[in-house]
């Protein structure tokens, strides 16, 4: 899977989060504060990893940015200010979550279908997206006939089909084996480089955060607050060899340190 040619790329959109809070209330039980005053400023076209321990609220934060969860306090701004630009967001879940009754092509075309685009246009865009993730042969297959890694690629293609300006990913490769995972990491970075979209990548894997992102935001355990925002001191071209590099180990330990602090353990 080589990096596709850069197209007339949609520019990524900047995201600004100020004092975001989210509280889950349930009758008869104590309120659960998932996110407790998080500030984030993400530049257009940036690749940011959000790192935190399991259950810390990072998924909730991502969902708030996506508009899937309301903010109980604080505000959220996109681009020059204001709400999310129309049709500019895409979200990749932890599991592929494909429609089992549709083939790959129809699954990938779904977002365009929901947006009311014409069928010819949809088909072309979907085929492009499928090719971009290296699944050109599998367009007629159904999800049940695909491996886990292939299904996740379809999910990725589905997210890319609308040419989003902001791509949100919630631990998308966590369930895959190491080789497939690294493969998809590479592919994701290539797509990001080609499109210039803003990418927010939630993970609990330090290695993945370090490998993928330009900047990492480390969160405390629940309720989530920012422990550290750290620009990764790593080359722009990231390849497999990097993972064995001393620089990589150093960046990883910085993140690890912050994680431990955020988790309430002594340095």
């Amino acid at each position: 899977m080589s990096a596709p040619e850069p197209t007339a790329a949609p520019t990524g959109v900047a995201v600004r989060v100020r004092g975001a809070c989210r509280v889950f209330r349930s009758a008869g039980e104590a309120d659960v504060v998932a996110v407790d005053g998080v500030d984030l400023s993400i530049a257009a076209g940036e690749f940011v990893a959000i790192l935190g321990p399991s259950g810390c609220g990072k998924s909730t934060l991502l969902r708030m940015i996506a508009g899937l969860e309301p903010l109980d306090a604080g505000d959220l701004g996109f681009g020059a200010g204001g709400g999310a630009p129309k049709n500019a967001l895409a979200y990749v879940f932890q599991d592929a979550h494909l429609l089992p009754w549709r083939d790959v092509l129809a699954n990938v075309a779904l977002p365009l279908e929901l947006q009311g685009r014409a069928s010819g246009e949809r088909r072309d865009a979907a085929l492009r997206a499928i090719a971009a993730v290296g699944l050109a042969d599998a367009a007629q297959r159904h999800p049940a006939q695909l491996s886990g890694g292939m299904r996740m690629r379809v999910s990725l293609a589905r997210a890319l089909v609308t040419e989003p300006r902001l791509l949100l990913l919630d631990e998308p490769f966590a369930a895959l084996d190491e080789i497939t995972r690294q493969d998809l990491d590479d592919q994701l970075r290539a797509l990001w480089a080609a499109t210039g979209m803003t990418v927010l990548f939630v993970t609990h894997s330090i290695a993945e955060a370090a490998f993928l992102a330009e900047r990492a935001v480390v969160l405390t355990r629940r309720p989530a607050r920012v422990v550290l925002e750290h620009a990764l001191d790593l080359p722009a071209q990231r390849d497999a060899a990097l993972r064995g590099d001393a620089r990589f180990a150093r960046e990883m330990s910085v993140l690890y340190e912050a994680l431990r602090r955020g988790n309430g353990k002594a340095a």
């Binding site: 996506a66 049709n87 879940f93 979550h97 429609l99 089992p100 929901l114 159904h142 006939q145």
Partner: protein
């Protein structure tokens, strides 16, 4: 394909032949009165002899069942969709759907005849009443079990409620709907027969007549015809399910 066919049909066919043979010899050996328990051969003879009565009766019952089931599917699905729209609606109206489950059809069949008159309409009503609840219950369960992540996905792209229903919830619920249908099919036959006891026509009346005329063998023959109808419907639903859902599941052999 060939060995599959053998695998599916030989075991039940063999059991059937063995039990029938055992019944035939057992009943004869015990000297049971034909008024009480006829031999399988007597039942078969009655079925053949009375085919001019049984087959048109079967056709009539089958017709009532088909219409009743069609109504159950159509209205049951609509009700399930309506109930799935909000928790309030579900809580407010679901108990009334349960009413269809618990009302004893034997008791209300005479009322159905008073409201719909003698004949096909009352019988269809009975078949419907008895078979609609499984469709509602199972369809509703399916509609409410839609993958939340997929619901989020649809929301993210600004899909309308109708788009979500048509492109996500209904296809998602299809396996549940078919399960409900599987149950509904057998119940519809029962409902139709009970309806016929009061409303007239079909296999129900053949059963009553045969009982009154001390033709126990004919009673069994009629009952078997009704069972065959139920079985045929069940098989039809299974075939539909297999065909509709074949792409959903992981194949044993991957290319």
């Amino acid at each position: 394909m060939k060995p599959r066919f053998v695998e599916t049909f030989v075991p039940p066919a063999a059991t059937f032949l063995l039990t029938t043979a055992a019944a035939e010899f057992g009943i004869r050996a015990a000297g049971v009165s034909p008024l009480l328990l006829p031999t399988p051969s007597a039942v078969a003879r009655a079925a053949l002899q009375h085919a001019p009565t049984l087959l048109p009766a079967l056709a009539m019952t089958a017709q009532a069942v088909a219409i009743g089931l069609a109504l159950s599917i159509a209205l049951g699905l609509l009700v399930a969709i309506a109930l799935s729209t909000s928790r309030w609606v579900e809580r407010a109206f679901y108990p009334y759907a349960i009413f269809f489950q618990i009302v004893p059809i034997v008791a209300i069949a005479p009322l159905l005849v008073i409201w719909f008159g003698y004949g096909m309409r009352a019988v269809v009503a009975a078949a419907f009443i008895v078979s609609v609840f499984p469709v509602i219950a199972n369809s509703l369960a399916g509609l409410l079990s839609v993958d939340p992540a997929l619901r989020d996905l649809f929301r993210l792209y600004g899909a309308s409620g109708f788009a979500r229903l048509w492109k996500l919830s209904l296809p998602w619920a299809l396996p549940n709907v078919l399960t409900g249908l599987r149950i509904a099919a057998g119940l519809a036959v029962i409902g139709a027969i009970v309806g016929e006891f009061v409303g007239g026509g079909g296999l129900g009346v053949v059963v009553l007549e045969a009982m009154r005329q001390q033709r126990t063998d004919l009673v069994f023959a009629a009952v078997l015809h009704a069972a065959a109808l139920g079985l045929a419907l069940f098989a039809a639903v299974n075939a539909t399910s297999h065909f509709a859902l074949r792409r959903w599941h992981t194949q044993e052999t991957e290319p």
